[in-house]
Amino acid sequence: MKTVQKVVNPVKRAGEQSPGKIYNEKLKVRARREWRGVKDTFYDYTRWLYLMSVLGRFIIVPRNIKGFFRYRWMMSYLFVPHGMDKFTVGLRDEALRLAHTSFNFVIADVTQAIANCFRGDRRVGNDKAYSDECVLTDENSMVTFMMGFDTKKVHTILREVPTMFASNIFHQFNVMHYLDIAQQYGIPGDVCPMPEAEAGISIDDDFCVLGRCAVQNNTTCDGSLMGNGIIAKRLEREYGIPTFQLATPLRHKEPDVMDYAAQEIKNAIAFVEEHTGVKWDWDIYFQAAKRVNDATRCRIAQMEINSTPYPQFFGAAFSLYNDTNYMGNSGRNADFVKIDHKLLALAEKGYREKRMYAKEYRHRCIVWGVQPQYVIDMLYWMVQCWGVVPLTDMLSVINTDMIAEEDTPENREQAYRDMAMLNMEMIMRNHTHGGHKVLVEDLWELCEKMNADIVMMWEHMSCKALTGMHGMFEEQARERGIHLMWVSHDLCDPRVFTRQAIRDQVNAYMRTVMREEPLDPSLENIPDNEAY
C-alpha cells in the first residue's frame, strides 16, 4: 500500500489541547467556546461580534422579523454562531483566519439573500417592484446565464440556498420536517434527501414567493431534476411565476453536446430578457468573465499549496466558499475578488510559516463524494483526531480552464460555449455525471498529483451516481495501493446516520485497518448527536 511521510508539527497548539471536552450533550450546544490562546481567542471573539452584528442588522428590519415568524427554516439562523464554531473547531493562526474570512463572507452573502427574499416575498415584504426584478433559480444552479445582466436591474435569487442548503448547516434537524412532509405526500424515503426536502418545502408552502420568473435546471441528478417538477407546478399554477427549464447535458466531456448546451444558455437568457425586460449586456458579461478567471487562478493556487506537505485552505470552509463563489456568484459580485486574494494571501503566509492544523499529519487524504450537511466539521475533526489531512474534496475539484474575457465578435459566440461548459461542469455533477472516468479514474490522477495515500469516500447512500460505482472504487483502489475508507451517510437526514455513527466509521477504519491510535482521544467520541 502507498505510504506518505509523516509531518510533525514542531509548534504546540496555543490554548486548549482537547477541544472534544467542551461538548455537552444535555445543552444541545457547546458548554463554552474554545480557548485558543489570547491572540486567537480575541480574534475569534471579534469575529463572533461581527457575526452578531450581521444578524442584528438583519433582524432589526421589521419585514425580516415578520419573515422570521413565518418560515420554519428561519429558526436555523439563530444557530449561526454555533455553526461558525463547527467551522473553526481546533483552528489557530492562519487556519482560523481562513475559516473566518471565507465563512463570514458566505454568511453575509446568505443573510443578504434572505433579506432579498423577504423584501420581495408576497407574504412578507411584498415589494412588488423589487419582486418584478427578481429571477428565481435553483440551489444547485450555476448562474452563468445571469452573468451579463446588470445586477442593479435584475436580481438573481437562489431561493433554495437559504431555505434548505445553508440552514441545514446550522441546525442538523431542520430538514427532517420537510422530508416528513414530502414522504407524507408519497415521495419515497430512498431518494436523495436534498431535492426531496426542497420538494417538501414547496408542498409545505414554506418557500418565499417572489420573482418575475424562474429558471430551473437539471444540473445535479435525476432526483433534483424531478423535484423541480413539483416545485414548478406550484410556482406556475398557484403563483403565476413562469418557469424555464434549462437543460444541461450529462455527458459533458463529449464535444457533440456543446451546441445543444450553448443553445440552451441562449434560450435561458432570452427567457430572462423576455420576462424582466432587461437586455443582456456584453460589457457586464466580460467583466464577470474576468472575475471568473481570477477566481479560477486563485483556486488553482490554493490547490497547489494543498499539494505540498503544508496544505492550508481545506475542509468545510474551502468547500462552502467555493460553492458560493463558483456556482452562486459566477463572477457577478466584485466583492468576491477581494476575498479570493485575501484568502490566498493568508494561505501563502501559512505555507511559508509551515502552519499545521494538528500535532502531526500521518496521512494525506482526498475526500471524494458528497459531504453530509449536518457534520460539516467532519474534515477538521478528522485531521485533529487522526492526523488525516484532507487535501481537497470532490466538490472543490472544479473547472481549471480559462474562459474568454475580451469582448470580440468571436468571443461573444465563444461566451455561450463557456457558460455552457461552466454549467455542465457544475460542482458535483462534473464528477457524478459524464461517465465513469470523471468519477473514478480522475480520482486516482488526483491522488497521484496531490500525493495522497488515502481516500475518504463519502458514500451518500441516496446518491445513485456515486454508489453505482462502489465496486469499481474498491477494485481500482486496491490495484493502486490506495487506502479507501468508506463513510456512509444520508446527506441531510441525521436519523439515518447520526454524527457519531459517521465518525465511528473513520474511528473503526483507523483502529482496525490502519492500527493507529488517535492524536486527540478527546475527539474520538463527541456527545453531539442531539446538538443543533
Binding site: D190, G229, K233, Q263, K464
Partner: protein, 400 residues
C-alpha cells in the same frame, strides 16, 4: 376463453434473456444491437442487417455480485442487468447502446463495460453511450439527430457495415410500423366491454416485441391478431374493475398477472416495455430526412419522466388521462420499481394530479423488479384498490 395458440410460445421466449430467436437471428448473420432504454429510437437499431434486443433479466434471483458493485441502494433492474451480464447472460450482444437516460441503468452498463462482461470474442463489439433529449424543442431534435448519428449509426456502419442511408431508415421504419399496427390492433380489443384478450396476454405479446428479434415474431403476432378477431370472450367476466397501469419498466408478466388475479383488468399499459408510447406508429413524410423525423417522433411521444419542461410534465398526466378515457379505465395504478428516482417523483406528482385534476382513483405503489419476491404485499394493495373502486361505484349508484 380458449387459450391463444401461440401464448405458450411467447411465454417461453420471455423466460430467458438469450432466447432461441436471438440465436436464430444471429445465425442469419444479423448484428444484435442490445439497448437499455425506451429513449433509443428502435428503428435505427433494426436497420437491414441488424436487430434490436432490449436487455432484461427474467427470473432474477440473487443479485449479490451486482450489489457488491453497485450497492443495494440502486434500483433492482440495474442490478439485475449487471448480474445477468456478469453471469454471461448477454453474450449474444454485438454492441450495447446506452442513453444517459437514468443514472442507474447508465451505471449498470458502465460496470458491464469495465468488467468486460461482453464482447470478449467479438473484435467489433462496442459500447456506445449517448446523450438524450430533455425537452421537446427543435434544439432537442437537433441534439438527438447528432447523438443518433454519432453513437448509433456511425459505429454500426463502421464496425459492422450496416447500411445507414435514408432509404434504409425508411425501410426500418416501415417494418417498425407494421409491428406497431399489429400490436395496436391487438391492444384495441382491450377497449371492449367484454375484452377478448387479457392484460397479461397482451403484455406477453408486447414484451416479446422488445426482447426478441422483431422480424422473427411478426408472423406469429399477425396470426394471433387473426385468431383474436374470432375469439369469443367468456360470458361471465372475472373483472371487478378496469385499470390502467402507468410507471417504470415492467418486463415481468407476473406483475400484470397478479393485478388481474385480484380482479382488476389491465386495460391499458403506459410503461417502459409497454405499448404506449413504444408501439405508436412513426409517420414519415418525403420532405424531411427520415432520421430527423424519427428523432422528432421519439421526442414528441416520449413519456419518460426525465423530460423536464413543464409542457412535458403536465402533458404526461394528460396523456395518462386520455388513455384512461379511451380504454375505459375505472382507476389508474402508478407503479415504480423501488429506488427509481425519476419514477419516485413522477408517481407522486402523477398520482396526485390524476386524482385531483382528472378525478381518477389512483393506487400508487413501489415494487421489486421481480414481483415473485413480494406477491403478498402487492396483492393486498391491489385488492384494497379494487374494493375502493367498487365502493366508489356503489356510492355513485353504479354497479359494484
Amino acid at each position: 376463453m380458449r387459450d391463444l395458440k401461440h401464448l405458450q410460445y411467447f411465454e417461453d421466449l420471455l423466460q430467458v434473456a438469450n432466447n432461441a430467436l436471438i440465436t436464430q437471428a444471429r445465425e442469419e448473420g444479423k448484428v444484435c444491437v442490445a439497448y437499455t432504454c425506451e429513449n433509443v429510437p428502435e428503428p435505427l437499431l433494426n436497420l437491414p442487417g441488424a436487430f434490436s434486443i432490449r436487455l432484461h433479466a427474467p427470473n432474477t434471483g440473487s443479485m449479490d455480485i451486482a450489489t457488491y458493485y453497485m450497492t443495494n441502494l440502486l434500483c433492482e433492474p440495474s442490478r439485475a442487468l449487471l448480474e445477468r451480464a456478469i453471469e454471461g447472460g448477454f453474450n449474444f450482444a454485438d454492441c450495447v447502446i446506452t442513453p444517459d437516460g437514468c443514472t442507474m441503468i447508465n451505471r449498470a452498463v458502465e460496470n458491464m463495460e469495465l468488467l468486460n462482461t461482453m464482447g470478449k470474442d467479438k473484435p467489433n463489439f462496442f459500447h456506445s453511450y449517448m446523450e438524450i433529449a430533455f425537452k421537446n424543442t427543435e434544439n432537442d431534435v437537433n441534439l438527438s439527430v447528432l447523438q443518433c448519428t454519432n453513437h448509433i449509426l456511425n459505429p454500426l456502419h463502421e464496425k459492422y457495415g450496416i447500411d445507414v442511408s435514408d432509404e434504409a431508415i425508411r425501410k426500418a421504419v416501415a417494418e417498425h410500423n407494421r409491428l406497431c399496427r399489429v400490436i395496436r390492433e391487438i391492444g384495441n380489443f382491450r377497449k371492449e366491454a367484454r375484452p377478448r384478450i387479457t392484460g397479461y396476454e397482451f403484455h406477453t405479446l408486447c414484451l416479446a416485441t422488445y426482447v426478441c428479434p422483431q422480424h422473427l415474431v411478426l408472423d406469429k403476432l399477425e396470426e394471433t391478431l387473426e385468431e383474436l378477431k374470432t375469439r369469443e370472450p367468456d360470458e361471465k367476466q372475472p373483472w371487478r374493475a378496469r385499470v390502467l397501469v402507468v410507471g417504470s419498466e415492467v418486463d415481468d408478466g407476473g406483475l400484470i398477472k397478479l393485478i388481474e388475479e385480484c380482479g382488476a383488468f389491465v386495460c391499458c399499459d403506459r410503461f417502459c416495455f409497454g405499448s404506449y408510447p413504444g408501439r405508436v406508429e412513426i409517420e414519415l413524410n418525403d420532405e424531411e430526412d427520415a432520421l430527423t423525423q424519427v428523432c422528432r417522433h421519439y421526442i414528441r411521444n416520449c413519456q419518460c419522466p426525465r423530460m423536464m419542461n413543464q409542457q412535458k410534465v403536465y402533458g404526461r398526466k394528460q396523456y395518462v388521462a386520455e388513455l384512461a378515457k379511451e380504454y375505459g379505465a375505472d382507476g389508474v395504478i402508478y407503479e415504480q420499481v423501488k429506488f427509481c428516482d425519476p419514477w419516485a417523483y413522477e408517481r407522486t406528482l402523477g398520482s396526485a394530479m390524476l386524482k385531483e385534476d382528472y378525478g381518477y382513483p389512483v393506487l400508487s405503489v413501489d415494487r421489486p423488479y421481480n414481483i415473485a419476491s413480494s406477491v403478498g404485499q402487492m396483492r393486498t394493495r391491489v385488492q384494497a384498490f379494487v374494493e375502493s373502486i367498487e365502493i366508489k361505484a356503489i356510492q355513485r349508484g353504479g354497479r359494484a
